[in-house]
């Protein structure tokens, strides 16, 4: 699942949620954030939720393409290790 926006924030979270649910039904979650420069806590929380769902359903969860800016946000949110599986 590749995002076509540079910002993932509370303003996008509801639409993102719907798309994640659809994607989750299809199988593993591979989130390509290469176009993204800004993520806020509401979206990080949604990713954490998605990861939990994947763990429960034995599906894989991976975030790929995170640039340094996004990685820094993950770190500053204290969620870098919680999200795990962030492609280096």
């Amino acid at each position: 699942m590749k995002f076509d926006t540079s910002e993932l924030t509370i303003y996008e979270v509801e639409l993102l949620y719907k798309n994640l649910l659809i994607e989750f039904e299809k199988g593993d979650l591979l989130l390509d954030v290469s176009t993204v420069n800004k993520i806020d806590m509401s979206v990080i929380q949604l990713f954490l939720s998605a990861k939990k769902s994947c763990l429960e359903s034995s599906k894989s969860f991976q975030i790929i393409g995170a640039n340094n800016e996004v990685k820094k946000i993950f770190q500053e949110s204290g969620c870098y290790s919680l999200l795990g599986a962030i492609d280096e």
Binding site: T9, Y17, L21, M41, Q45, L46, S49, A50, S53
Partner: protein, 685 residues
């Protein structure tokens, strides 16, 4: 720019304007504790909000300015004139930093140099014990003050946290400004799986170990904008009892803390004692205190609300349409002779008027809030031209439509600059003339007959009548054989391209401006006049309507056309009976209680047909110092008038400023009283 950033920019703008006004006031009136405290809080707020957006260079700069203000507030440093000047420059510089930060730009060389220069000056003003070292591009600010402690901060976002518009990541980044985050543990235990989550609700919590010299209050202030949207506990990390209380509240928290390296969590395991019970009570008290604080904030919140002005404009438009619709109902009730309907329409009309007044009041602002910025402009211009100016704002509490206040700002600025640059003499010259070396410029505002009057007066050299006239003749504006009085000659300076300034400066004197000033004022349905006395000074008088959308009007008829006269300008209505007609004897004057009242025959002025009306009336109107009687046929009474612009056809009709739609669907024309008076005065001459 997103909504939060817009609010940040607006807030910074307000804080900086407030700072500027306070500084200028203190420069003029001396230092007072209340203003210093308010200055500190303004800079503190800027630092706090900038920190939440991660605008590090703004935070770093504001931090030093705030420190110095803190010392001034605590009486450790005296606020000198030089320091006020530095803070004024710091205010300007902060604005530049914020603009750059919002645009996501780095500091250019010039700004960086200014930044360093100001920081050095600010730091040199700090008491020796508190000199700080600062690295602008780094996130750490070292403070040599001792007393650093290890704090434990426990934070839970309430379900509606995201609705606060704040991002917790930005808030957390603020910790780095105050000290070092030793441990940051994000708690996601309560985050549901994808199928059960409400993505707009928050479920996150944090445990933080924070090493800093900051106090409890400093740390609490990090959360001041979201204090109602979080559950917050702050205690010293070695307070095992508090930790125990915390761990007892949440299953598995202690293990998580130990696992995350919160060393203190591994101590005091299972220690539940009376002491802890006591602590629990303390915590409860603490929570009560917190909620009291929160409820206080709620009360404060209810005082102000930011609303996009376009929403108010939309409401005014809708009310305007309702007023017109109601006028139709009223008219229909009259035609049908239906008393009940007529009564209901009257009640509705009163209610509409109340709503209209209420909405209009939302738009009304005290002019002083906006005019205070002129103090800085006067201060800067005076400094530039080496003049001493005592600038006074009188009647700052007068209320005017916000849009009008904004639009009048540029013309006022121009006139003030002119007054200082060309009106007021240099201290040397003033001394020579026997005047005090300090010139006086007064900006005075007051309501008068449904208008707001703004006067700019100075005690300078006044306008040179002869120079203006010579230039006007040379430019072909007036004939050599003109019959203009002094006032009319002075008002020629509003003609395009007429500047008598001997020196063209970057402040004024290019001859462009005063015509634009007049045009801008007239675009607001206002008028401007000038009077001047050689050697004594000049007086600019601007008259503006209170509002631009709906007015209380008075409906009259002349010939076959209905007209509206702004109600506030009407002094009285009298019948033009046989006695007056006899007195007139073909002249357009009557004797009204022993004073001559010039009359304007509306019917003949607008080429109306002869009326069938049996009686004629005079409506006495006043505008400024002038009074005339308008000869009309019918008087219908008060009418809520929605001002509608007229088409280009009416552009050149002197004396009509707009139109309105009556209940019958007819159009009534709104008189431009100042223009009609001008015409009458010229006619008399």
């Amino acid at each position: 720019m997103n909504e939060e950033l817009k609010l940040f920019v607006e807030d910074v703008d307000e804080q900086l304007t407030f700072m500027e006004n306070s500084l200028i006031n203190m420069q003029d009136d001396g230092v007072d504790d209340e203003s210093v405290g308010a200055l500190f809080r303004a800079m503190h707020t800027i630092k706090g909000t900038a920190g939440m957006f991660g605008f590090d260079y703004v935070v770093s700069f504001a931090h030093i300015a705030e420190n110095l203000l803190s010392d001034v507030r605590d009486g450790k440093v005296e606020l000198t004139k030089e320091m006020i000047e530095t803070f004024l420059q710091s205010k300007d510089h902060t604005q530049i930093l914020v603009d750059l930060a919002v645009k996501n730009e780095v500091l250019d060389e010039r700004t960086q140099a200014k930044n360093d220069e100001l920081l050095n000056i600010l730091k040199s003003m700090l008491p020796n014990a508190k000199k700080e070292t600062i690295k602008i591009d780094a996130e750490v600010i070292e403070d040599e003050q001792g007393g650093e402690k290890l704090w434990h901060i426990s934070l839970r976002l309430k379900a509606n946290f995201f609705a606060s518009g704040m991002d917790i990541i930005n808030i957390l980044s603020f910790f780095k400004i105050l000290g070092e985050v030793k441990q940051l543990l994000c708690l996601d235990t309560k985050v549901p799986i994808l199928q059960n989550i409400n993505p707009t609700q928050s479920y996150i919590g944090y445990e933080i170990l924070f090493f800093s010299g900051a106090s409890y209050a400093d740390i609490e202030e990090i959360f001041e904008f979201v204090i109602d949207d979080v559950e917050l506990e702050i205690f010293l990390a070695d307070d095992i009892d508090m930790l125990q209380v915390l761990c007892d509240k949440e299953d598995g928290l202690r293990e998580k803390l130990i696992f995350a390296g919160f060393d203190s969590a591994s101590r005091g395991v299972g220690k539940v004692s009376d002491e802890i019970q006591t602590k629990k009570i303390e915590v409860k008290i603490g929570i009560e205190k917190q909620s009291k604080k929160s409820s206080k904030k709620e009360v404060q919140k209810s005082f102000s609300l930011r609303v996009d002005s376009s929403k108010i404009d939309q409401l005014i438009n809708q009310i305007s349409e309702m007023v017109i619709a109601n006028a139709k109902v009223t008219q229909r009730a009259d035609v049908l002779d239906d008393n009940e309907l007529s009564e209901s329409a009257t009640i509705l009309s009163d209610m509409l008027e109340e709503i209209r007044t209420g909405i209009m009041n939302i738009r009304m602002v005290q002019v002083g809030d906006s005019f205070n910025k002129f103090k800085r402009i006067v201060h800067d211009v005076a400094k530039k031209v080496d003049k001493e100016i005592n600038f006074e704002i009188v009647g700052g509490e007068t209320e005017l439509d916000k849009m009008v206040v904004e639009k009048i700002s540029d013309p006022l600025m121009h006139m003030l600059r002119n007054s200082i640059d060309h009106g007021v003499e240099t201290p040397l010259e003033r001394r020579r003339l026997g005047k005090s070396p300090q010139g006086h410029v007064i900006l005075k505002t007051y309501p008068d007959a449904g208008t707001i009057v703004i006067e700019i007066s100075d005690d300078g050299q006044g306008l040179s009548r002869d120079k203006i006239l010579t230039k006007a003749i040379a430019n072909g504006l007036v004939d050599e054989n003109n019959n203009l009085n002094d006032k009319e000659i002075y008002n020629l300076i509003f003609a395009a391209g007429l500047s008598t300034a001997e020196k063209v400066s970057d402040i004024s004197g290019r001859g462009v401006g005063m015509d634009v000033v007049k045009r801008n004022i007239e675009a607001l349905r206002g008028t401007v006049e000038i009077d001047s006395k050689p050697g004594k000074g000049s007086l600019f008088t601007i008259r503006l309507p209170l509002t631009l959308a709906i007015i209380d009007g008075f409906l009259i008829q002349s010939g076959n056309t209905k007209y509206i006269i702004p109600l506030e300008m009407i002094q009285e209505c009298i019948e033009l009976d046989a006695r007056y007609k006899k007195e007139m004897d073909g002249n357009e004057f009557i004797n009204l209680r022993d004073s001559m009242l010039p009359l304007l025959d509306v019917r003949s002025y607008f080429d109306e047909e002869v009326s069938q009306s049996e009686r004629e009336n005079i409506v006495v109107v006043r505008y400024g110092d002038y009074k005339i009687g308008m000869m009309v046929d019918e008087l219908f009474g008060e009418f809520q008038t929605v001002i509608k612009p007229l088409g280009e056809v009416f552009n050149n009709v002197v004396g009509i400023s707009g139109g309105t739609i009556l209940g019958s669907g007819e159009i009534a024309l709104i008189f431009d009283i100042p223009k009609l008076m001008e015409h009458k005065i010229k006619q008399i001459k």
